[in-house]
């Protein structure tokens, strides 16, 4: 037993000496003989492998204990739900006591009304009231259900057919609220990754739709065709992938925020050159522009098939509520299942749909209302053309007449207060109801603020004269104080 161990020990010693003394294990480095360098290199190699395989040092993860979470929850102080109320937030709007026609009653006084978008004077028209009354007696007030679940009443289908026939498009779809039309239509066709080129002056409904669609949005300068052309050029040349993406141009026919009219013929030329699709909001031009009131396409002589999607709110010339969208059959059918404002919301009350049908019939049969409206607009333009301190920025043919403030008072807030004061004094002193610009903090539009007047075919010459004189007087008083 002991001899075996001694033998093994001697054998090991022999091995070691052999390794150290073997001729191949001898080397001379820098004049120093080293013996057994293979052994040394082998040991170093093993040490390197061990070091590399060690994991780097991470401090151990310690999740928060329940007590720590409790402390954090106790310490956290939320902001108040709303910021503190300031004086200007307490402003009350005028309360009407009769129908919002060209003349209305506020506080017992008769007032000339330029604040309702009643362009053709159809508020109070007896044919509309008749059809509304019979619809109310037959169908009640509400429709009690979304379109998919027994909320489709035959007047809705008749209204859609009537609109398509009037405009000459294949199909239409009715929405129950004007504002929801645009912010439901746009996310239907524009998804993440698509490209939308929109005017910077579009109203909040369109802005909300653009935001919900999650597409890439590029704004061009308000109603500037040169800016539009260069933006389209940049998009098409910069990105080679753009050819496979869906591309849209979004514009309004008559801009709510400035009263300008979009040059549709140039937009269509650009659209055909760069292969974009056009989504047009005709809320303020339906029933107003064009020889028979068929909107911007008739006004510029462009065939309606060239515009891919036309939407409009009916709360303007048609003196009812709701909105519609028209276009080709595939587009409209797709919206019936994927447009959230259509599928998940109750349908339009039937009496408003029947009012829309009657309103379109009235427009068809009385084209002289449009002529009277054009005359009124021209008269008002003449009266308001030389007010010191405010200038007309709207198009001479648009039914929304916009007077912008030439010199801003410094901040948007002060301008808003000044305009509000002007409108209040116009109501109190001259019995004139006009609109001063209002801006929500959610609104991204940065167009100049001013006074808006909605001209109606029901206004008489004396009304228009009164408006011009009153605004001239107030502008000189309020804008040139010390």
């Amino acid at each position: 037993m002991a001899s075996n161990l001694v033998e093994m020990f001697n054998a090991a010693l022999n091995w070691v000496t052999m390794i150290l003394d073997a001729p191949s294990a001898r080397a001379v480095v820098f004049g120093v003989p080293i013996q057994g360098h293979f052994l040394v290199e082998g040991v170093l190699g093993v040490v390197i492998v061990i070091l590399l395989s060690l994991k780097s040092y991470t401090p151990p993860k310690r999740p928060l204990t329940e007590q720590e979470i409790d402390e954090l929850c106790d310490d956290w102080v939320p902001e108040p739900l709303i910021p503190p109320i300031t004086e200007d937030m307490k402003h009350e709007p005028p309360v009407l006591e009769s129908a919002a026609g060209p003349h209305t009653t506020v506080n017992g006084k008769d007032v000339v009304n330029f604040a309702s978008a009643n362009f053709l004077g159809l508020i109070g028209h007896e044919k509309l009231l008749e059809s509304c009354t019979s619809a109310l007696e037959k169908y009640g007030v509400g429709s009690c259900g979304p379109r998919g679940f027994y909320g489709t009443i035959d007047v809705h289908l008749d209204c859609e057919t009537r609109i398509s026939k009037f405009l000459g498009t294949p199909d239409s779809i009715l929405y129950s609220y004007g504002l929801s039309t645009m912010f439901s239509t746009i996310p239907c066709f524009c998804k993440k990754g698509d490209i939308i080129v929109a005017d910077e002056g579009v109203h909040w409904g369109i802005q909300n739709g653009l935001q919900l669609s999650r597409s890439t949005i590029v704004y061009f300068k308000h109603n500037d065709m040169e800016s539009l052309r260069s933006t389209l050029e940049k998009i098409m040349t910069k990105n080679k992938r753009s050819k496979n993406l869906r591309r849209y141009i979004v514009a309004e026919a008559v801009y709510q925020n400035s009263g300008q009219i979009a040059p549709l013929d140039e937009i269509v030329k650009l659209k055909e050159k760069y292969r974009f699709r056009v989504i047009l909001d005709e809320s303020n031009s339906f029933g107003v522009l064009g020889r028979s009131g068929r909107g911007l396409a008739e006004h510029h002589g462009v065939p309606i098939e060239k515009i891919d999607v036309v939407t409009a709110a009916m709360g303007h010339a048609l003196a009812t509520e709701g909105g519609f969208c028209t276009g080709n059959v595939r587009i409209i059918d797709y919206q019936r299942l994927s447009s959230s404002g259509y599928v998940f919301s109750a349908s339009l009350p039937p009496y408003l749909a029947s009012a829309a049908i009657t309103a379109i019939d009235v427009i068809d049969q009385n084209p002289d209302m449009l002529v009277k409206l054009k005359q009124n607009i021209a008269l008002l333009w003449k009266g308001l053309s030389n007010i010191k301190g405010m200038s007309l920025t709207s198009n001479p043919e648009s039914p929304i007449v916009f007077l912008k403030l030439e010199n801003s008072r410094g901040s948007a807030k002060e301008d808003l207060l000044l305009l509000e004061e002007m409108a209040d004094r116009a109501l109190k002193e001259d019995s004139l109801l006009v609109v001063s610009s209002k801006r929500s903090f959610l609104d991204k539009c940065r167009l100049p603020l001013g006074i808006k007047l909605y001209v109606s075919a029901g206004h008489s010459e004396s009304d228009l004269l009164k408006a011009s004189e009153s605004l001239k007087r107030l502008a000189s008083e309020l804008l040139f104080k010390s």
Partner: protein, 489 residues
Amino acid sequence: MITIPYLTAVSTYFSYGLLFAFGQLRDFFRRFLDWWLTSNLQGYAPICLGHEDFYIRRLYHRIQDCFERPISSAPDAWFDVVERYSNDNNKTLKRTTKTSRCLNLGSYNYLGFGSFDEYCTPRVIESLKKFSASTCSSRVDAGTTSVHAELEECVTRFVGKPAAVVFGMGYATNSAIIPVLIGKGGLILSDSLNHSSIVNGARGSGATIRVFQHNTPSHLERVLREQIAEGQPRTHRPWKKIIVVVEGIYSMEGEICHLPEVVAICKKYKAYVYLDEAHSIGAIGKTGKGICELLGVDTADVDVMMGTFTKSFGSCGGYIAGSKELIQYLKHQCPAHLYATSIPTPSAQQIISAIKVILGEDGSNRGAQKLARIRENSNFFRAELQKMGFEVLGDNDSPVMPIMLYNPAKIPSFSRECLREKVAVVVVGFPATPLLLARARICISASHSREDLIRALEVISKVGDLSGIKYFPAEPKKIEHTNNDIKLD
């Protein structure tokens, strides 16, 4: 929670798989046929990508006649459904002039105000003649009439909050209010089955959104604690504010929210509560004041109360009720108030009259009768359906009761057979519900009489046997005398 029997789940998956496979096969052949007749797009990208409307073209079109059925009368307890026919295999449906008088189990007409009412309709016509159909203007310009002022005052009295503001559409109310209340740096905790308008409003606000399990206050508490401790994503700064959004009655489940627990949790963790009472206002509670009355929650504890007028009041529009400062701020900043046309004056008058009837201020007790009737109708109907062996969801007292169908083939079979027997029901499938959980949804109204309900039960039982949807064992029929009296509280 709905638990599907295993066999049903397998057969439902199989059915969808078969439909999907057939759809793909047809699309494949269609691509050949269309190869030489592609509409000349000339460089435009196609407006609807192939797979986006696959569901519409291959699955939805087959059962299209079950949806969007037009009616030609008021949505009362009995109404006229217009008959339609199709020449091209259900792709387009054409109206005929024939109608069939059916029992209405689908409209949201909880208190029966959906048709001509002896108190409301004459007043509505009067206000129409005085103020005309619309004001054509937003509330801040010239859209506020004396009727609107009266309406807001009525709503505050009814709901029990200091102030209220009214909008023209319920969907737009949610979409426009939530971005005003909260923005980037805030947190929205919303129930997993919240309505699409709340989801849209939350997305539009830019705040971070976290979802908690449907109607589970314990999960809400867990998520709240985690989120407050962690802070904003990536920067870990503390949240600016937290809003918890819940609904009174969930329209696809018929369940009532566990509001007392949610309010207690939110008070403890200093979060704000936003309650959407679209279906529950006017329909539940002893005097119809909604879920707060039913569950005994103080209205001062709920920060923002939202509701719609389409369901129980037979009109259109939505409201927000809260403290005076909140409403003043909203009237100054909310885009739906500043830019959108105001609610039409006749609709506003209908709501005022309906509220007066419910509160009994018109001098009769029709309001109390209606409320008692809808409660009794819902409980009776639900109990009878469960006795027959149907799988019915929802809590007691809720007028919405979904009956589970599961299999996609049963959706059209249930709907068409019921229509043949002159009962109009609503069936819902994907995408409004999860893929496997298709259901038929019954909405009870106070204008249904006991005979109407018994007739409906007979028809549904017969059709249920035919379609095979009695998933639970039926209770054996007890020989007892049915009591036909209507009890008044």
